[in-house]
């Protein structure tokens, strides 16, 4: 690796860091509250969380033939 490409890489890193440093950040309290809110709002639809009643679980073998 030539010293020129080392300098070029370093310049790129500095530009990238400038970009990342300029980000506008929100407070952790707000971020945490919104994640929590999303979980609560969608909990009822989350089959892995609340379970699926045997009759309406498409992956379970039907025990009897039902006509709906």
């Amino acid at each position: 690796m030539t010293s020129n490409s080392n300098v070029a890489n370093m310049r790129r890193l500095v530009e990238q860091l400038k970009l990342e440093a300029s980000l506008e950040r929100i407070k952790v309290s707000q971020a945490a509250a919104e994640l929590q809110q999303y979980c609560h709002q969608n909990a009822a639809k989350d089959a892995l969380l609340v379970g699926v009643p045997a009759g309406s679980n498409p992956f379970r073998e039907p025990r009897s033939c039902n006509l709906f």
Binding site: M10, V14, S29, D46, L49, N57, P58
Partner: protein, 343 residues
């Protein structure tokens, strides 16, 4: 060499600035914020289906998302086959023989029209599932990476993003088979990628122990997340797209919030000493399912960071895991050559 010294100083200053800026917004921790929330009750999922047919280690699986194929998934095995499964009937919809058996990843296009795979051949091969004569053929071979293909994800039928052992990710134009954008910046093999729910961003996890958030259209790296002490093998978005989950060889998973630009919590247990191979979030984001080298999948309460369940059923490493788009079931794939569907 004066310029090099100055640039190094500038870089260090900027790194300190970023650390400071992250501290400034750290008015609490996720742990404190959810202190009033009750831990999720014990989660016990049962194997509902076992998909048998591969003859060697399974390395990857991906669920279909289109309403027509929400119960279909594709898996890739080093037996040199891609299999598209109907998970309800366990029937094989397609069994696609591959040119190279050293496959490490596969993906299902959101439309359900195509699948893709790649591995040690350094290429991403696109297969058209809806060809006129009913035969599944290679549509494109995307070649430009100089290292193995670790992961690929379709944006749509004409664009796909790949991650590689050559430390870069590439956005491809499938029509022309050429690179639209090369995302360079990682200092180690890129192991995994995930696309945001709005398809505007993607995240990559690499062997440089960092995760990077990329703006697809601006072609820039927006943010870099550190903290892991070893390779990041698995990465995914929290379902609302505002946070990222990573899984690492350091035996932990981490949750990073994109807008607060920092780690919120680490999922670890002194009893877990082996690497995380794969992860997936449940529909609401409350559960984190992570596959480990010790053949198990641990289920974590994502908010409280405690283990609330285990999926034990494979006889070898769990290499891949995915939750169906309607959240109804989770699929695990293993080096024992089987896929299992759980709910």
């Amino acid at each position: 060499m004066g310029e090099m010294e100055e640039l190094r100083k500038e870089a260090d200053n900027l790194k300190d600035q970023i650390t400071e800026a992250r501290k400034v917004v750290q008015d609490t921790t996720l742990q404190e914020a959810v202190a009033g929330t009750t831990l999720v009750g014990r989660v016990q999922l049962k194997t509902r289906k076992t998909l048998r047919g591969h003859l060697a280690k399974i390395y990857a699986m991906h669920w279909g998302t289109d309403t027509n194929c929400s119960k279909l998934c594709v898996s890739a095995s080093q037996d040199g086959k891609l299999i598209v499964w109907d998970t309800l009937t366990t029937n094989k919809v397609n069994a696609i023989p591959l040119k190279s058996s050293w496959v490490m990843t596969c993906a299902y296009a959101p439309s359900g029209n195509m699948v893709a795979c790649g591995g040690l051949d350094n290429m991403c091969s696109i297969y058209n599932l809806k060809g006129k004569d009913g035969n599944v053929k290679v549509m494109r071979e995307l070649a430009a990476h100089t290292g193995y293909l670790s992961c690929c994800r379709f944006l749509n039928d004409s664009e796909i993003i790949t991650s590689s052992g050559d430390c870069t990710c590439i956005l491809w134009d499938i029509e022309t088979g050429t690179e639209k954008t090369i995302f360079a910046g990682h200092l180690g093999d890129c192991m995994s990628l995930a696309v945001s729910p709005d398809f505007k961003m993607f995240i990559s996890g690499a062997c440089d122990f960092t995760a990077k958030l990329w703006d697809i259209r601006e072609a820039t790296c927006r943010q870099t997340f550190s903290g892991h002490e070893s390779d990041i093998n698995a990465i995914g978005f929290f379902p609302n797209g505002n946070a990222v989950i990573t899984g690492s060889d350091d035996a932990t998973c981490k949750l990073y919030d994109l807008r607060a630009d920092q780690e919120l919590i680490t999922y670890q247990d002194s009893g877990i000493m082996c690497g995380v191979t794969s992860l997936a979030a449940s529909l609401s984001g409350r559960l984190l399912l992570a596959g480990y080298d010790d053949f198990n999948v641990n289920i974590w309460d994502m908010l409280k960071a405690e283990r609330v369940g285990v999926l034990a059923g494979h006889d070898n490493r769990v290499s891949c895991i995915g939750v169906s788009s309607d959240g109804m079931a989770c699929c695990t794939g293993s080096w024992d050559s089987f896929l299992k569907i759980w709910n």
